[in-house]
C-alpha cells in the first residue's frame, strides 16, 4: 500500500506541475521517423510476451518491463 501511495503522489506531482504552457516542439508532420516500425518499443508483441515470460520465470525481478502502454500518437 505504501508503494501505491508513492505512485499516487508521483502522479499528482507530475500532472500538477504547471505544464499547460508547454507547446509541442515536435510537430505532427515531423514524426515520420518516430512512426517508422523500427522505432516501436514493441515491434512484435507476441515475441515480447514470450521474451518477458522467459526472464520472469528465472529472475526474482518483475514488473515495469512494458513500454508505457501508450505509443507516441505518431501513426
Amino acid at each position: 500500500m505504501g508503494s501505491a501511495r508513492a505512485i499516487l503522489i508521483l502522479v499528482t506531482l507530475l500532472l500538477a506541475s504547471g505544464c499547460s504552457s508547454i507547446k509541442p516542439w515536435v510537430k505532427p508532420y515531423e514524426r515520420q521517423k518516430l512512426a517508422d516500425p523500427i522505432m516501436s518499443f514493441d515491434m512484435h508483441p507476441i515475441a515480447a510476451k514470450h521474451d518477458a515470460h522467459v526472464f520472469e520465470s528465472r529472475e526474482a525481478a518483475r514488473g515495469a518491463d512494458g513500454s508505457g502502454g501508450g505509443g507516441c500518437g505518431c501513426n
Binding site: A6, K33, D36, I38, M39, S40, A61
Partner: protein
C-alpha cells in the same frame, strides 16, 4: 476477506485514475487523436533449452478492430515442459508438464484516451492463475506525451501433484504507471513504474532447502522450503529509442528492482535494429542482469529448521546473467497474390549465460557439503513466427 481487499485496492486505483485522467483532460492542448493498436495476427513457435529444461510450444495472437473505437484481442500460449533441471535431479524425479494460457482483451478509444480491459487464465495440472487487468492511457501536450495507468488483480490456485488435499491460494495486486515522451523528432523515451503485492502460498510446494546433517554420508539433508506469505516489490525502468542518421534504430533499457524480501536487482540492455531494403529487418541485442539474494536464502542451512523462513531457490539467490540475441524479419511477397493483407516471417535467437554466486552444484557428491562448485548454465531461446497485417 478477499472481496474487501479487492474493493479497497479498486478504490485506491479509482482515485489514481481520476487523478490522472481528470487532470490530463484539463491540460490537453489540441489535435490528433490516439490510435488503437494495429490489426494483426501472429502465429509463433517457441523453444527454450538449457539447464536440463526443454520448454516449447505454439502461441497465437490475433487483434482486430470491430469499429473505429473498439479493438479486440485474443492470445493463446502453450508450454510443454520436460524438466530435468538441477533442482529436479537433486531432490525429485524428472517430469513433463503442459501449460495452457488464454487471454482476451478489449481496447476502447475515446478521444485521446484508450481504455483496456483483459482477462487471462493459465492452467496446468497443479497450478491455475487468473488475472483481470484494467488500464487507461492518455495522449497529451500535442501528443508528445502519453501517460498510462494500470491495475491488475490476480487470483491463483496452487496444488500439488499426488496430494489432492493440497489446496492453497495467492492473491496478486499490481499497480503500474507509465510515461512515454517524444523528446525530439528522432528520439523517444518511456518511464515505467510498477508495484506488485502478493499474498498467499508463495513458495514452490516441491522445492527443498538443504541443511548440514552429520548423520548421513553426504553431510546434508533436505527439508521443504518455507517462504513468507506476503511479498511487495517495486520496479522502475527507462527505455529509449533513437533514430540514427541513416535508417536504423538504437534502443536502450535500464530497470531497477527492490522488494521486501531484500532482493535488489537491475538490468541494462542495448539493441540495434537495421533494415535492409524494404524486405529485411535485422536486430541484435545485449542484456545484462544482476540480483542479490533474498534475506532468507541460504545454499546450506546450519541445521534443520534453522530459520522461520528458508529458501534455496536459485531464482532467489545472488546471480548474474548475460543475454546476446539476434533476429531477422523478412517481408513475405504476398502482394502478388492478394491485396487484403501483408505478412512477414521472423526468427529470433537468444543465448543466455547464468552464473550463480551462492548456489552450489549439489550433484557433485564427492565434494564436501557447502564446498561444491558454484552452479552455472547456459540456455538457448528460439522464436519463429509469421505475422499478417490486415
Amino acid at each position: 476477506m478477499v472481496v474487501t481487499k479487492l474493493i479497497r485496492h479498486l478504490c485506491l486505483f479509482t482515485a489514481l485514475l481520476a487523478n490522472s485522467v481528470l487532470t490530463s483532460f484539463v491540460l490537453v492542448n489540441q489535435a490528433q487523436a490516439a490510435v488503437l493498436p494495429e490489426d494483426r495476427a501472429d502465429i509463433l513457435y517457441h523453444r527454450y533449452e538449457g539447464g536440463g529444461m526443454t520448454i516449447d510450444g505454439p502461441a497465437v495472437l490475433v487483434r482486430k478492430s470491430v469499429s473505429e473505437k473498439v479493438s479486440l484481442s485474443g492470445y493463446y500460449y502453450a508450454d510443454a515442459v520436460s524438466a530435468a533441471s538441477i533442482d529436479v535431479v537433486t531432490t525429485a524425479s524428472p517430469y513433463t508438464e503442459d501449460r495452457d494460457e488464454y487471454r482476451f482483451g478489449v481496447d476502447y478509444l475515446h478521444g485521446k484516451s484508450t481504455m483496456s480491459l483483459s482477462y487471462s487464465n493459465s492452467d496446468e495440472s497443479d497450478y491455475t492463475a487468473n488475472t483481470l487487468s484494467f488500464g487507461v492511457s492518455q495522449d497529451m501536450f500535442g501528443d508528445l506525451t502519453t501517460v498510462a495507468l494500470g491495475f491488475a488483480y490476480g487470483w491463483d490456485e496452487v496444488g500439488k501433484n499426488g496430494e489432492p488435499e493440497f489446496d492453497e491460494e495467492i492473491d496478486r495486486y499490481s499497480y503500474s504507471f507509465g510515461l512515454t515522451q517524444v523528446l525530439t523528432a528522432n528520439w523517444i523515451a518511456a518511464f515505467n513504474l510498477q508495484a506488485i503485492t502478493d499474498e498467499g502460498f508463495l513458495n514452490n510446494p516441491y522445492r527443498s532447502v538443504r541443511f548440514v546433517d552429520p548423520t548421513v554420508p553426504s553431510g546434508y539433508s533436505y527439508q521443504p522450503e518455507v517462504y513468507p506469505e506476503t511479498r511487495t516489490s517495486v520496479a522502475g525502468s527507462i527505455t529509449s529509442k533513437y533514430y540514427l542518421p541513416y535508417r536504423a534504430a538504437l534502443g536502450f533499457e535500464a530497470r531497477y528492482f527492490d522488494d521486501d524480501w531484500d532482493i535488489q536487482a537491475y538490468n541494462v540492455g542495448v539493441d540495434y535494429t537495421h533494415p535492409i531494403g524494404n524486405e529485411w529487418v535485422l536486430t541484435t541485442r545485449v542484456r545484462y542482469y544482476s540480483q542479490s539474494e533474498a534475506e532468507f536464502y541460504s545454499d546450506l542451512f546450519p541445521y534443520r529448521d534453522a530459520q522461520n523462513f528458508m529458501a534455496r531457490d536459485k531464482e532467489l539467490s545472488d546471480f548474474t546473467s548475460i543475454t546476446v540475441g539476434i533476429g531477422a524479419t523478412y517481408k513475405l511477397p504476398l502482394d502478388d497474390y492478394t491485396e487484403r493483407f501483408t505478412g512477414s516471417a521472423t526468427i529470433e535467437w537468444d543465448h543466455i549465460e547464468f552464473d550463480y554466486n551462492n548456489f552450489r552444484d549439489a550433484r557433485e557428491t564427492d565434494a564436501v557439503a557447502g564446498e561444491e562448485s558454484l552452479y552455472s548454465f547456459s540456455a538457448d531461446v528460439v522464436r519463429a513466427f509469421v505475422s499478417f497485417y490486415y
